[in-house]
Symmetry: C5
Subunit: 352 residues, 5 copies
């Protein structure tokens, strides 16, 4: 599906185009900027005609249909070729490939599928809000890049929030198994970093190349957009570090909890084993009738209370010993609630 | 709220301004330097008038109200635009955004909220202490940056002290759960690093740009301030490494303590289990009256003492065996107090 | 074995050459490009004659027969010398050394053994598909490099798939020992990285050197191929990180499983040890006939049910205590299935 | 306290100066080099006079009294300003701040306290050994730097020796708690690195600046000194890596020892628990007189030997089973002494 | 001991020199290249004469006798000064310091002790094999460097083999303590890296300096030698990574083995503890003659078989429960042999 928006400071026209060959007419258009948007990569016929009409390099056209490109900027003669990845709205992290050809008066964008994050930009062009109508194709390219970079903000913020929820749970000493969730978050953070880092390189390369084919100050806008990409990368790095730190905290929690369980259980066993031994002792069948040396305690008047007393004092003695060693009781468990991280939590989100 | 300090080598004037449009009068002021300070970002009207009067770039004005910027330096034509983060006084780590426009004779600072760390600087201007009155707006920009960088010193030092307290506790073999506190400190250290590193880049960029719009030697002052930022970053790195090292020490402590507990308890159990077996043995009910082979010990004169003797020697034998193996007794526990870190503790604090 | 393909825009000739000395005739050939392919490194005679005929540098010829070279590009006067490593088809990772001499009209490739990934390229030359026939030796060199780089894609993808299978198993909380397999995969990923990284450097060096001895735009193709090499390296890095993350997940799984086992078993033991003690208590042989204080319970009418009751309440009490502590029962085990990584799995494979 | 050494190729004078204002006379001195040494930073009066007399920059003078500077080199017009840290003699790591002003004929050094590592250099000047007397102030600055760098050698070597002692203990499978000592050593190594790395940068900056204000070949000497700083840093890195490796070895030792203890103890318990069960079995009180099915073994002629036999064979069977599994006996413990590191231990020390 | 080899394309002379002062005669020698080799650093007289005769810089001569230099290249006027470390033959890693002065026609090498890896080179000069006789002193310097770099190959390969042997053992699930051996290997690998990395820098510096004092293409040879140094460093890095990976595998093995042991033992204990409890239960002495409620089972006809049956079903039930949970039996132990690393093992060795 091909849609064209042709605009200038004075007017804007918008219409669908049925067939790629109809685009030839646009070459003689008087619109200051013509934005051709193509959805879907299925029709190779379309792309070869596009290449013929606008003189696009064959390698660039190969890259357009070859998914899994990393974001890149390549200058082929008069035309700049840009590959980007555009996130679709939350919840699922899905990064659609967007290719852009930027000429003097024509800008072609090619997406994998319909639906994108550029509708706000199109509205601003239609209603002549912002600066887009008064500027050329290079500014439009910047505006598209900026829209895409802005779309990453809520996505990155979403991961920040998920991590902060995990942080609250982990600091509350929960031992829920958060490892798979952190694994999933880290995976997505890596995928985002692999997209945003080269996007920033694209912005740097465009700002450098800007002197050649654009109005004078588009590079200022590109540099501003670059700052946003850097902010996103810092937010990703912060999240990555937070994920690592949470992992450590979690493992420390699990191991402390486990240690505590094992310690208490072992202590119980350790107290009862000597008691059991004493009970076993007086369960022996030495024949006291044959010899006064054989277990005289069994025939004492208070033999049984004596035995219970020995057991009780053994148990109490052991408990005291364990408390003295600090293995049991108030001193052995962490009593205070752990301090909350005092850092500027607001500053951690990438803002908008 | 808008406050103006206009000064030159000879005199200083200070007055509040009710409305942004009143600032137009300042354009014809003869003061060498006019410092306009605005508290609060709420009134977008103010900023658009400000932009019109002083010819500020629209992108810069967008950045002013857009919180969560990282510190940056951007030259828009004649005017330099600087974003910084200013720490509020301890205890809570709160990093307020400060924007600065530096022109030839005018310097505008915009803060999120009233109250800052620049009162000492204002006093020096009022009382003509230091060099500020004799120099231009670029020096004032340096002086503001320097004040902000200085404000980080006690904050970083505070973390150093908290870590050193933790170090004392950890070296005393405490097994208190310090993991959440180290987590919180690390979090703040990362937040500080993310502010101070780009602040240093701002200082570098300003020193490089200084030749254009400032007296000759402001770059020397900027380089000195840069050294301070580097010192702060080194102090942060030292703290980060110390936190890691403390974490290792703590985990080693916890695991040694746990090992010791488990070992002692297991040894107790191991000693009593064979004893219990012997007791159980003589608790068997084989009928000695039917056969002389059935448990003749039960009918010995000294059968019971003999059994107790066997138990005692088993216990003593096991204790000796465990001591011989080094699992029990003096050799098995760390006896010496751990050595104190001998490093120059004074050198670790960032100084002032 | 020596095979020659001589071609130009108009025609293509292909024939085997029996002896290296017969190649001298090619010096006067009028074919635009002559591609000489030599399989096997055994015959040093061949290489010395080759060197004499085409004026190859002795050091380059030494490198040809010296296996275990890392990919490199070296310009010896008019002739460029390139060493590459070519993967053989899956399953086994076997990286054959390929040397290339690129002259103005002659390209010599030397492989360790017959069979390679260049047959598709040869077919394109024979049937005049693609651009090869219309271009010179530098383009042929590019085409060979591109074929080799493309061959790495399915290999890297194969490791991605093996890792994703492992991920599925690990996320399903399997505790199979995947460590040796991850060890093997990491080993191969390292070997691939050590080949692809210098291959990229070769492409960079060739693009830089291209101005000298090639048509004008071969460097555009080389830059495109470079992007593919970077994509491969990113895929390798992603795999490496995934392997690390899987290792962590696996170890966490193993340790959680182990902890769970130990906890349940220890709890069983802890419950039965006090019960055993009570049983042992009433197995003592204190003589109740001599004294009413000696174990009167044994002579109670409901002594045995009383003892059973004490045991039962002890057991129930302990179970409640453990559940209350969260060591046993529903709260203690992770109940939800771990969330699936939501990242764009397609985006992770290097594509083709 | 101010001391002056004025020297030239022909003669040397040395005298104390009571007051900073007396130094003015030195401006007209004809000595080739005048070395002014000031001990103590207490007297701010002295420094302001010094600044006036020799035209020192106010920022440099601030840095002199501001402790905790990192080593740096700054050129203020004609005068170079250098900050260094000088180690005091072992045992304690104490790094005193030394500031240096290097002019054409005058060199001023300012130390925190009396006593330094430069006496050997002063003696060489007094007795005209070495090259110092024949050269200018820049060479003297080099000689001071070189003396300071040399002073670090025995200090670094001391840490190497402490680590090697620890290595011997750890390789002998000691499980002494070496963690706090490694913590302390690492702390000091980090402190040393933070001093030596910028010292090297000072040397690089001086060598670069040398063309301007020194004889031609002082930069050769500075480059040599730079090599020494690099050697020191390599020695520190080696020590740091050795410390990490020792930590790993130690933890592995501790865990192997603990595992061994737990295994042996658990095996003992595991052997005795079935035996205890058998004993308990025949301690049951089923009434054999009421029924021939009730524990006939108790009435066998060889019932007791039979029971002992069952126990013995159970125990032997378990021991065989554990040995077969490799959990017990010769195969389970590391038998060979661990191999000694074969590396060139001499090469590890930084030399002198 | 001083030995001289003077050679040119036509002839070669070789003779010992008794005293350094006799070398003065060589200044007027007509040999194209004069190679002076000195063994032993003891005689400082020799070095000062050497310095006087050939105009060597005093700092270089100091470095010659100062052991523990890292490899470096320094140009002192006409003469290049090179420090290298030469490995002695296996088994022990011993890195001897070799210093080289390279003039236009004279090359001086100074070794710590007699015996080196250069005899093959000397033979090639004597018998006029290879290129050495036809070229100058710079080529001789290259040939010496190349010989030394080649000598590192078998040494690095030796470590590769030791690691591969360890890998075989570790993959066979051995739990032998390989930690000290890996510690020793890592130590040597670090020592080698600290020598080979700066050797490569020497080669780069020489190739850069070559234009000045050598025939045109020695830099090609130096670049080839540089490739070898890079190959060695890659082999070292591979070994280092393999050592890390083996460490992980080993620790995983040890911990899995330990877990398995503990699990089996704990399961045995857990099965017998309830059985022991039942036995203890019927060992209680409640008096059945006083009350029909007191342990009627003891007087049942099939009481004993009943008790045995309860025990057997408890044991079987627990075994089934443990198998169901996957803690015991076929599913719980890794059954398949771990996969072998499939990487090109040949490619891992540095080749020759």
């Amino acid at each position: 599906m091909i849609r064209v928006i042709a605009y200038g400071p004075e007017r804007v026209e918008e219409y669908p185009v049925g067939h790629a060959s109809d685009l030839k007419a646009l070459l003689t258009s008087k619109a200051a900027v013509t934005w051709i948007n193509i959805d879907g990569l299925g029709d190779s016929e379309t792309f070869s005609q596009l290449g013929d009409i606008f003189g696009l390099h064959a390698l660039a056209l190969e890259d357009v249909v070859n998914l899994h490109q990393r974001p890149k900027f390549e200058a082929y003669g008069e035309t700049d070729f840009i590959v980007l990845r555009m996130p679709s709205p939350i919840p699922d992290l899905d990064l659609e490939q967007v290719s852009m050809f930027v000429g003097d008066h024509v800008l072609i964008t090619i997406q994998e599928k319909p639906g994108d994050c550029l509708d706000a930009l199109r509205d601003r062009i239609r209603t002549n809000k912002g600066r887009a109508r008064r500027r050329g194709a290079a500014y439009l390219a910047y505006a598209i890049l900026d829209s895409i970079v802005e779309t990453f903000y809520p996505i990155v913020e979403n991961y920040t929030e998920r991590l902060e929820e995990l942080e609250v749970r982990v600091l509350a000493s929960s031992t829920d198994n958060i490892v798979p969730e952190i694994h999933a978050i880290r995976h997505d953070l890596r995928a985002l970093r692999r997209v945003i880092a080269p996007t920033r390189e694209v912005l740097i390369a465009m700002a450098r190349a800007d002197a050649g084919n654009a109005q004078d100050d588009t590079h200022i806008f590109l540099r501003d957009c670059q700052d946003h990409a850097v902010q996103l990368m810092e937010a990703l790095d912060t999240n990555r570090e937070l994920a690592s730190s949470l992992m450590d905290l979690h493992l420390s929690n699990v191991s402390m909890r486990m240690n505590e369980v094992m310690k208490v259980l072992t202590i119980i066993a350790t107290i009862f084993i000597p008691l059991g031994f004493i009970a076993g002792l007086y369960g022996m069948n030495f024949d006291g009738q044959l010899s006064p040396w054989n277990m005289p305690e069994l025939r004492w008047r208070y033999g049984y209370p004596f035995a219970l007393g020995v057991m009780a004092s053994t148990a109490i003695g052991l408990v005291f010993f364990f408390r003295h060693k600090g293995w049991l009781g108030p001193g052995s468990a962490p009593s205070e609630p752990p301090p909350q991280a005092t850092g500027e939590t607001k500053g951690r989100s990438p803002g908008s």
